[in-house]
Symmetry: C2
Subunit: 231 residues, 2 copies
DNA sequence: TTTACATAGTGTAAAAAATACACATTATAT
DNA sequence: ATATAATGTGTATTTTTTACACTATGTAAA
């Protein structure tokens, strides 16, 4: 391939699948690329890792530069290393997923010029993405599903105070299947890490639901032993 | 740090945790390094990824060169990217675990000069390893435990024909806890992917146990749906 | 103030899965 | 014949999961 663009021999990058939950839908934040290769395509936010930063730090930095977002839950899930996955050279990429409370981040402006803009896309109708990013996305959601059952992932995607219905909708969105309301509530409450608040939902034109909080301390007290085994 | 050794700016490597099961114990194959850094230390087999090979291919190649072993089950589990994890320069390493039937591979001779020798170590008494390899090992066994419950990992570690007691010992070794014999057998058999053979164990000085085979085809027929969800 | 609406919130019975538990059987070696 | 060492087996109890439908409540509109 001859593009006239600079080539590099080999590098590592981070790519990031940023999940959010809004309007009952699971969404992913994509960027519209402003540079070749794949200029004008949608892609996952990502960039090269510098030599003096750990991959964790790089993930945090890159995400910040491309989305102006900080302090979200991030986790590595797979590394992609096909030789030809990047058209300009050998780039091995470590993929992370990030979970954010979309609320208040509906409009996310990239800081660098590398991305024209960003926008949230429902996971069920993602466009064709640059590089091998569709594959990376597929892997991410499979990992997310699996981890949902043994890590308190869901609460990273919800506002601090949430209703049980919201929680259920989120589980349904991630697992991509309907759950039974009564069984879901029974089970969630039986875990003992949800704190029922003396507060109700506001601004709805029907009976307001009770609000709950996720009690992290209790969670880790309860699952301490298991969590050591797993990862 | 000034060692007189060549430095490199940045590179990726593969490190590999090779599990085997022998004499009722879970073991890991370590190499004794023949080169600095960490010359004469025990370490996980690993080496740099070449520019023209995928990380999968690199993992296969490196393992072959260092252990003379091929065609084992390998799976990526985590990527380690601390800046200072390698004393000679920036090396990001993709860690794999590999599962082999130890039988017939009790003595493994390295092909390259890079390793002096290799030897199997029980997982419970690993020596101090070079680099961050103790951490890599810890992560590997946690992943292995988790995956044991949804992937047919155990059968990669046993001979083709095995007894239920052997299978149970292996589960106990990986999970690091005792299991109930009757319940274990009931459950394993209920899955329906074990094929009972018309053959018995040989060479034991007590009642010989029935031999079983893992029926891969059946396994995938049964767990098709689940396996799609997971990964 | 009544009514329509939309979602919240609740319990039970049945089925399935997990657990706890101990002894008779059988092949080999002496 | 006997000792030995591990194999192979069943049941009752508890826990977890599943299936299933109606009443309660707050808001908004008539």
């Amino acid at each position: 391939m001859e593009t006239g663009l600079p080539k590099f021999d080999s590098a590592f990058s981070i790519d990031c699948v940023i999940f959010g939950f809004d309007a009952g839908e699971l969404k992913v934040l994509l960027i519209e690329r402003n540079e070749d290769p794949f200029k004008d395509w949608w892609a996952l936010p990502g960039n090269l890792v510098e030599n003096d930063e750990s991959i964790e730090d790089a993930a945090t930095r890159i995400l910040y530069e491309l989305t102006n977002l900080r302090d979200m839950h991030m986790e590595q899930f797979h590394t992609f290393g096909e030789v030809k996955r990047h058209p300009l050279g050998r780039v091995i990429t470590v993929a992370y997923y990030a979970l954010i409370r979309i609320l208040g981040h509906k409009e996310v402006k990239p800081i660098t010029q590398y991305a024209k803009k960003t926008s949230w896309h429902p996971v069920n109708t993602l466009p064709k993405l640059g590089f091998d990013h569709n594959e990376i996305f597929e892997t991410s959601i499979q990992k997310l599903r699996r981890r949902l059952s043994y890590q308190p992932i869901a609460f990273e995607l919800l506002p601090e105070k949430f209703t049980l219905t919201q929680l259920q909708l989120l589980y349904e969105a991630i697992l991509n299947k309907k759950l039974d309301k009564r069984n879901f509530r029974k089970k969630m409450i039986s875990y003992g890490f949800l704190k029922e608040l003396d507060e109700k939902q506001k601004g709805v034109s029907y009976r307001a639901a009770k609000l709950y909080k996720f009690d992290k301390r209790k969670y880790f007290k309860i699952f301490q032993n298991d969590m050591n085994l797993e990862s």
